[in-house]
């Protein structure tokens, strides 16, 4: 579909096939749209009638893992089990259960794996504090290395002080640079 050669025969053909292409794809997009609208219409009823409770439910579900499609939360997932469990949470909220009770309810059935924020206990200590441990270890290693290097340099008589000769040389270099930049 060449649109770049104006006023030529080639352009006429190119334009016609371009419009054919457009129509065909528009029709396909329309069909797809209709199909998708039908699909979402099927899922539509799954919404509670109380907006505040619904928000509460979604907030809670966002912290819980869907076991049918792992790595999605119960709030995100459209797996049948997630739909059921959202309904279950909705009903438990309606019964006046606290968030803690609802979490315990799900934990008792599916295990700690449902919690995106697992409880701090024996087998999750490494999970919770491992990263901090690595950070502290890294900082410690850095500190020790730097201390040792400093001790070695001091032992070799190298100091952080500039000798007079070096200081003069550095000053000359700086002056040179300033002189150049003021010219340009």
């Amino acid at each position: 579909m060449t649109l770049r050669a104006p006023g030529t025969h080639r352009r006429a053909i190119g334009q016609r096939s371009f419009w054919q292409w457009r129509y065909r794809h528009a029709a396909a997009a329309l069909l797809l749209g209709v199909a998708l609208a039908g699909a979402s219409a099927l899922e539509a009823p799954e919404v509670g009638d109380n907006p505040a409770a619904e928000r509460h439910m979604l907030q809670l579900a966002a912290e819980l893992r869907c076991l049918q499609c792992q790595n999605q939360t119960l709030a995100d997932s459209n797996a049948p089990l997630a739909v059921d469990l959202r309904q279950e949470i909705r009903e438990l909220i309606a019964k006046g259960q606290t968030d803690q009770q609802i979490k315990e309810y799900l934990g008792a059935r599916y295990g700690d794996f449902v919690f995106y924020r697992p409880p701090v206990q024996g087998n999750t200590l490494l999970l919770w504090f491992g990263p901090a441990l690595l950070l502290v270890g890294g900082l410690l290693a850095l500190y020790i290395t730097l201390r040792r290097r400093l001790a070695r340099l001091e032992a070799e008589g190298v100091t952080a002080e500039l000798s007079d000769a070096d200081a003069r040389r550095a000053q000359n270099l700086l002056d040179e640079e300033n002189g150049e930049s003021s010219l340009s």
Binding site: Q68, D84, L85, A108, R109, Y110, G111, D112, F113
Partner: protein, 180 residues
């Protein structure tokens, strides 16, 4: 002395690497689908459901007290159940223990047709159309199978199809021990 300390430090990164590599290597063999069930060694949740075949007849967990039995979750829409089913049918011919089905989120028509087509290894199937009992049992990947002892305590859970190897190596010895 200083020399030996230095040579030890040289190996420190290697040690750190080996520790990390060990964790990653172990991670290769962990199956995130096999979530340890918190229900092991806990009482099997109660249920009273209608029988799949006979509306009105109640399948009650309490009636199974005093027996070692298997609870097998299945559904006609479940592909892995087809793979598992012949194993259960075969096991039910020789087994000394009853297998109760939990027909999970299915319809009576589809469920009955499925049993007629592939055989029925179950003493009865509880009809859990809404999947509520499934939630109580922490079911998330049909088929799942629970081995329940005489006191009504869950002793073993299989996530995914029961295989002949699992029966032979794990379930049968466990059943013999629980029955013994």
């Amino acid at each position: 002395m200083a020399q030996s300390r230095k040579s030890l430090t040289v190996f420190l990164p290697l040690a750190v690497f080996l520790v990390l590599a060990w964790f990653l290597y172990k991670g290769l063999y962990l199956d995130p689908r096999e979530v340890p069930s918190p229900l092991i060694d806990k009482p099997a949740p109660d249920f009273r459901l209608e029988s799949l075949s006979t509306p009105g007849r109640i399948v009650d967990r309490k009636e199974m007290l005093g027996k070692v039995w298997l609870l097998n979750t299945w559904a006609s829409w479940c592909v892995a159940c087809r793979e598992e089913h012949p194993v259960l049918v075969e096991f039910s011919r020789t087994a000394s223990i009853p297998i109760v089905g939990l027909n999970y989120k299915d319809t009576r028509v589809d469920g009955m047709r499925w049993l007629a087509q592939f055989g029925n290894p179950y003493v009865d199937s509880a009809f859990d159309q809404a999947g509520r009992v499934g939630i109580d049992y922490g079911v998330y990947a049909v088929p799942e199978t629970f081995l329940i002892d005489k006191q009504g305590v869950i002793r073993f859970k299989q996530i995914g199809p029961v295989t002949p190897e699992l029966l032979q190596n794990t379930l049968v010895p466990l059943i013999q021990r629980l029955n013994g």
